[in-house]
Symmetry: C2
Subunit: 528 residues, 2 copies
């Protein structure tokens, strides 16, 4: 093996004074060959979505997915394949069917699905629709005694906004270039943080009050407006997953075209009657722990150091959770399979983690990081304990554990199933420079962009916020944010097989380079 001349040349051209990264082209070639000629990534994503189905945290399907991923990783020859419990998370939930029909002033079928963790109806029930958008407890109290048997429409109408952009997009050169400029952040705004925290707590209190109030008043169900247009049901959770908390009444999310129509009829003074039949159930009475699936390719030489890759295994329930995020799970599992199949011997251990409860606030990855690497102290005030860290005043600094220093980097995949075009360096400029060299041999498969920008909202944040280098990829959007994200259309038909094959090869390549690097990935200073 020789040090890469290409890397030196690239550096020379860019005029950057930093050390050249060692790149083992032969190893990258073996990874590519295995990933492109012997891929199992579509088998994996198909099993997760269509044999197992959607994987709401703590649902029977999520249990099956935990068990299947553990078994499959072990069958591929990975070590220490296991489930790690965390929690208690709450109850499981699943829905079997949901029918919604208008019976007056005319008859037709409405398109809606139940929110997770909301109760079903007792068989088919019929009630009158009524608009009630409550912003405060007082807004609700005004209707005391007047809501029995009603089906409440709880969102304002929304005009459909025609879009002049294609639904399915890939990055072009201009957009990738744009992504490389960094927006200088504004100074912290203590007043805004305080008011956001108050809003958060007020909203949570209103939700709990509303759940209790609506059930006590004998409301039949609530209906919310889907957040996207064109017949798409974008549905997440409602009610409560916590044993003992009020779960409220059956709650549906309805397509814009049908929701608006009901509201227009109500506005004209028509009596609108709906018949609902929602079969849904909590799969346990008590709060249960949830599980992350973990497995390893043991290192050679630096076995106690680790490079981690991961993706969340849980999903919402409206579709089959294909792009969000069976795609990521399949890509990460495939990267592990490729690395094992090539017979390469990375110095550091490469560990995969498939998270649960990402959709409820990165809970699986946060718990894992807390157990193994660094605990984030919870505020003593019980009222504040669920306040997101970003809304806490002077959050307590993380308490580091010995293994904190042993994790070189964590790579996460959770932006739909689009191929990898680059990586977000999360303001870690030293890491950005390493990535620029590492991706040079991946340019021919479309990976060209390192941006210093931060990206959030998924499990790399659990690492990044305790000072462990955690990264998420720049991926082609495809139709993730137009058709698929948290919608009933998130299924196998919106997955692009070639993109998943490319992604698995890229992840395996970067994980291997990280595991072979002389030094661990450079770190940013730990921020409070």
């Amino acid at each position: 093996m020789t040090r890469s001349l290409t890397a030196f040349l690239l550096l020379g051209l860019a005029g950057v004074a930093s050390a050249a990264e060692y790149i083992d082209y032969a190893a990258l070639g073996r990874i590519r060959q295995e990933g492109f000629t012997n891929s199992k990534v579509m088998d994996t994503v198909t099993t997760l979505t269509e044999r197992i189905g959607p994987r709401l945290t703590n649902s029977p399907q999520m249990d099956a997915a935990n068990e299947w991923t553990r078994k499959q990783l072990a069958e591929w020859g990975l070590s220490n394949a296991r489930l790690e419990a965390f929690g208690p998370f709450g109850r499981g939930w699943e829905y079997q069917s949901a029918s919604v029909h208008m019976t007056a002033p005319r008859q037709f079928t409405l398109s809606a699905l139940p929110k997770a963790w909301t109760p079903g109806t007792e068989g088919a029930v019929t009630g009158e629709a009524m608009l009630l958008v409550a912003k405060t407890q007082a807004d609700l109290d005004k209707y005391k005694g007047k809501l029995k048997g009603k089906i409440l429409f709880i969102s304002d109408a929304r005009e459909i906004k025609p879009s002049d952009k294609p639904d399915f997009v890939r990055y072009d050169e201009d957009k990738l270039k744009e992504l490389q400029s960094f927006a200088i952040p504004k100074p912290a705004d203590a007043a805004k943080r305080k008011s956001d925290a108050e809003d958060f707590l007020r909203q949570r209190e209103l939700t709990q009050y509303s759940n209790r109030f609506l059930a006590e008043e004998g409301v039949l169900a609530t209906v919310s407006l889907s957040s996207w247009d064109n017949g798409i049901i974008r549905v997440t959770g409602g009610g409560s997953r916590k044993a003992g908390e009020p779960v409220g009444v059956p709650a549906l999310t309805m397509i814009t075209e049908h929701y608006n129509q009901v509201l227009r009829l109500l506005e004209k003074g028509e009596a609108v009657k709906l018949t609902l039949d929602i079969k849904a159930r909590y799969t346990s009475d008590d709060d249960r722990v949830a599980h992350n699936t973990v497995a390893e390719l043991p290192g050679h030489g630096k076995k106690d150091e680790v490079v981690m890759i991961g993706a969340h295994l849980d999903s919402w329930h409206g579709g089959t959770g294909a792009a969000d995020n069976a795609a990521g799970v399949a890509v990460m599992m495939e990267a592990m399979r490729i690395l094992k199949a090539t017979g390469l011997k990375p110095k550091r251990t490469i560990r995969i983690a498939l998270w649960s409860a990402e959709e409820q606030g990165l809970l699986g990855s946060a718990a894992y990081v807390g157990t193994h690497f660094a605990e984030l102290p919870v505020p003593a005030d019980p009222k504040l304990k669920d306040l997101p860290r970003s809304l806490q005043e002077n959050p307590l600094p993380p308490v580091l554990k010995p293994a904190h220093g042993k994790v070189s980097a964590y790579f996460n995949y959770d932006n739909g199933g689009g191929r990898i075009r680059g990586i977000y360096a999360q303001e870690n400029l030293a890491a950005a420079e390493v990535f620029r060299q590492w991706i040079a041999p991946l340019a021919d498969i479309g990976v060209t962009t390192v941006t210093s920008r931060n990206t959030g909202s998924t499990d790399h944040v659990s690492f990044d916020r305790v000072g462990i280098p955690g990264f998420q990829f720049v991926q082609d959007n495809l139709d993730y944010f137009t058709h698929v994200h948290h919608t009933h259309l998130d299924g196998l038909d919106h997955i692009q097989a070639e993109d998943l094959r490319q992604s698995a090869v890229v992840v395996a390549s970067l994980a291997y380079l990280a595991a072979m690097r002389d030094e661990p990935m450079p770190r940013k200073p730990l921020q409070p």
Copy 2:
């Protein structure tokens, strides 16, 4: 009033040696003022879609729409508002609700709607899904005795094709220019016509055979694949509307994402069970006549000559038939209202016709033209009598009636609810030149394009094919051919109010100019 100087100037610039059209700018100004400041077009489209609902030919809602439009036109002061019967057309049909759930191998709700003129189920029924794509009677016969209780998936799977174009589009200058080039038609191909005619008759025979066979075999239902992706149910008719004909079994159209998923499960050898509950009914046992709504603004001076405007009032049943074609009906009714409200006295009578059964083959307009203007003889061979005229060998020439010479022009509106950008001259070059002059004062509201091209598929064809100048407008597409046409999303939310107001003003302007012209609209030679 003086002859328009502008028209002369325009002709001078274009170097065209044709007579200048007289344009009464003052009248056009009054039309515009009434249409833009006192519009009722949104009230009309709202009543049709949301108070009345979808308007399948001969359904109770279509009856209500016929009656309401007649009454409304009379209330606006138009003359001879009446319903004209034609037919018998067939039976009426409506659906109340449709629920489709997968119960094995996992439980979830599938998105599908019944085809018009197919029977409902007898309550909730459960059966096993099975793929059976039959191209011939023999394909069906092979399964004799093996289909009892099955739910047949009768389409092949279709891969979703990502689109790189926006869903919502308006014409730009380039596209309008492109539209002005005429594609020289290929010579008639007798062999192709013959084979198309044979295919047509064979397909019709297969449908009737299949309807009988599947019912006799005890098939529970059939499921077809929606022709568009992304959760859109694009559903038209099935079964049979004719009393005495076999109607087959319940028949659904399902979204691509769910249809493909069932097929993939079947391919893997899974037993897929579905529960269906479809409430649908024929609203009469016998074939009934259908009705066109007709009303007039009587002429002054050339009262026995007529300019006609029209749009089809019937729709499919999946949505509320807003863009197809309550929009067209509302625009044409509004044009009549505007003309009446202005107090203008057109020389020729201006008549509106709101057609029924356009969706079943332009039947309402064809019957009207046959009764009043020119009959198209039906082939003597009973087997050929339903063969479309374009597939007939040596079709018999139309038999003209005295009023044939009294119709100056017919204007039709049926390309969704997008504003008018121009007009198709249907190869009538003399008419094209008239239109070029007439639209000059409409350029500031977006009407700039006359194309010599033919356009088809709607009711102006019933006039054009018997030699009466019949025209259809060039309209902005909006999302008509991406979200709305024949889909469950065709509702008021996809209507653009400003486009309908513009269209009504344009139609009223052109109808007035046609009614005032010294000569009738020039005609093309009558083709066999």
